[in-house]
Point group: C2
Chain length 342, copies 2
């Protein structure tokens, strides 16, 4: 049988446990998987593009467990009452190919994206960072704040979004969570005094929501909104004078902020920093950028974490996804005996 | 919500309806999709190979509906009590990327493979074909016989397998179905007098289970067991003197019987015959071969067929796979309000 976590159970598990605690646990799984990054099968995602958006399959494997995520990205969805991004994922046993775990991943992707950002910031931001500017207050924003609090100690938020309703929603959601929140009047106002800047807007365009003159020495930029071809958020000159860290360089050069730069622009893969194979931040004055686009291994870590965390609890159910005839060669026996003739 | 057909409901639907009737209906869907073959997104499958076997994702899209199948192939599974092949599949709406339909596909793949074989034979075999030789009596065998009866009028079977238990299982399963069945003493004995020869063994090797001297003029060969690199069943010279029909030539040259031949060996894609764009059988003396490896569009047709056939019945249930917050930008609102702080 295959274990299944549906939306109802995912929401209940996250609400009961607390998203902050979950993301803290997820960071441990992510760090463990990033440290063994080289041992994973890093097949590129398979995308089906249409004028409406994209549907992708993102597989990976550590040769014991195989995982993949189905995910869509449809920028025009919110205006029609749908989520921009929905997702679900599967884990399977490599030795026999049987799927063992199925989970909703719309909520889980939000958690893993924020946990990944926080893991990168823990490795790259200045120690003692407490203030984060948030440019963009969509679906990701609240998750980011909680992940950064548990992992980095962020307790002060400066928020800016061009959509006042989205900002109001953000303030309403984080108000009970114990942060100091300032609603800024512009992106420039938001980043004033920030130790960390998170850019996460939904514009599907080469926007420049953060210009070089706004970036002070020593800041860490968590750039998560520029994540597909044609969609960037940072002025290119920010990248040229910063230390730029990515998940998987071949993919980020196509999808990330660095799509604006020459193909041999020097970047460091984050796993190398976590594995002690490359330096992270050089000094307190360096600007560091995590140019994040999302990678299948992060979904793999998140699925593993949920699977283990809900094991033996009521947050999952069994579903009957794999036929098990008594004789493996007698699949027909499952249906034949009862069938009408002709 | 997403409709879900689990193994229990699939088996019940097939048993209640009858596999023969289902495959006849599926042939209609397959023919319709093969005729519009050119309009599909034909992304190659994404495979993760290990010494144990392979796990594949097979996506396709007609730009209104997106579909994919997860399928494994583990030759050593039956010896350990597992199915060689298990599968499940998904359909999604392209306009918003939401998954609408999830189904088990272990049983369904068996049905679609046999329905595809029967569709090809209907287009390629000599009219009036009534006798089929079956070389190999594994999981596929019974499904093939029923699909060929409903589509082509096959009523006489000559079976051969090196595994006596598998032959006994086959005879036991088809005995109540009204065929004339002869258990042959060899492959040569099985093909004697056959109008159609189906080769479907599990050997993962360049086996020669059918040699040219056994192939009489006018026969149609339904070659379904040679379906991955290094796995073939026909002597190469059979192919050289036959009309060879394939699903998708770039894939079949890697996975099919024609992997034994030079890369420019002339073949016809089956959709061209069904769309009236290429001739099928030339005369009653020609040997025709359907060199079948399975293609994502066939799974797409099968999933569409089940989805439509079980719509409004009790053979499917709703599952909660996609989060639907009231405000699409407020995913956190689903979990935040109820969450413990800190």
């Amino acid at each position: 049988m295959t274990r299944f976590v549906d939306v109802h159970n995912m929401v209940k598990w996250v609400a009961d446990t607390g998203p902050e605690r979950i993301m803290a646990g997820m960071v441990d799984y992510l760090e463990s998987d990033f440290r063994r990054w080289e041992t994973f099968d890093k097949t590129p995602r398979v995308a089906s593009h249409t004028p409406f958006g994209v549907i992708e399959l993102m597989p990976t494997s550590d040769y014991e467990t195989y995982g993949f995520k189905y995910v869509n990205g449809h920028p025009s969805n919110p205006a029609r009452g749908y989520q921009t991004v929905t997702a679900f994922g599967v884990l399977a046993d490599v030795h026999n190919g049987y799927p063992t775990f199925l989970s909703e991943m719309t909520v889980l992707t939000a958690l893993r994206t924020a946990a990944t950002s926080a893991m990168a910031a823990k490795a790259l931001a200045r120690p003692g960072s407490v203030t984060m500017a948030m440019i963009g207050s969509g679906s990701q924003a609240e998750f980011q704040t909680l992940a950064f609090r548990s992992t980095l100690g962020i307790d002060t938020l400066r928020i800016w979004d061009t959509d006042p309703d989205a900002m109001a929603k953000f303030v309403r959601n984080v108000a009970p969570l114990g942060f100091h929140v300032t609603v800024a009047s512009s992106a420039a106002d938001a980043v004033d005094g920030a130790d960390v800047i998170t850019t996460c807007t939904a514009d599907k365009a080469q926007a420049t929501i953060l210009t070089a003159d706004l970036v002070r020495p020593g800041v860490h930029i968590n750039a998560i909104g520029g994540d597909c071809p044609g969609k960037t958020e940072l002025e290119a000159s920010i990248l040229r004078s910063a230390g730029v860290f990515v998940e998987f360089a071949p993919q980020t050069r196509i999808e990330g902020e660095i799509q604006q730069l020459e193909p041999d622009f020097a970047v460091t893969e984050l796993w190398q920093v976590l594995a002690g194979r490359a330096p992270g931040r050089i000094d307190d004055a360096q600007v560091t950028v995590f140019d994040s686009v999302g990678f299948a291994i992060e979904d793999f870590s998140a699925l593993r974490y949920v699977r283990d965390a809900v094991s033996g609890t009521e947050y999952s159910v069994e579903i009957d996804l794999v036929a098990s005839p008594g004789d493996p060669k007698d699949l027909f026996g499952l249906v034949g005996a009862l069938s009408p003739v002709g």
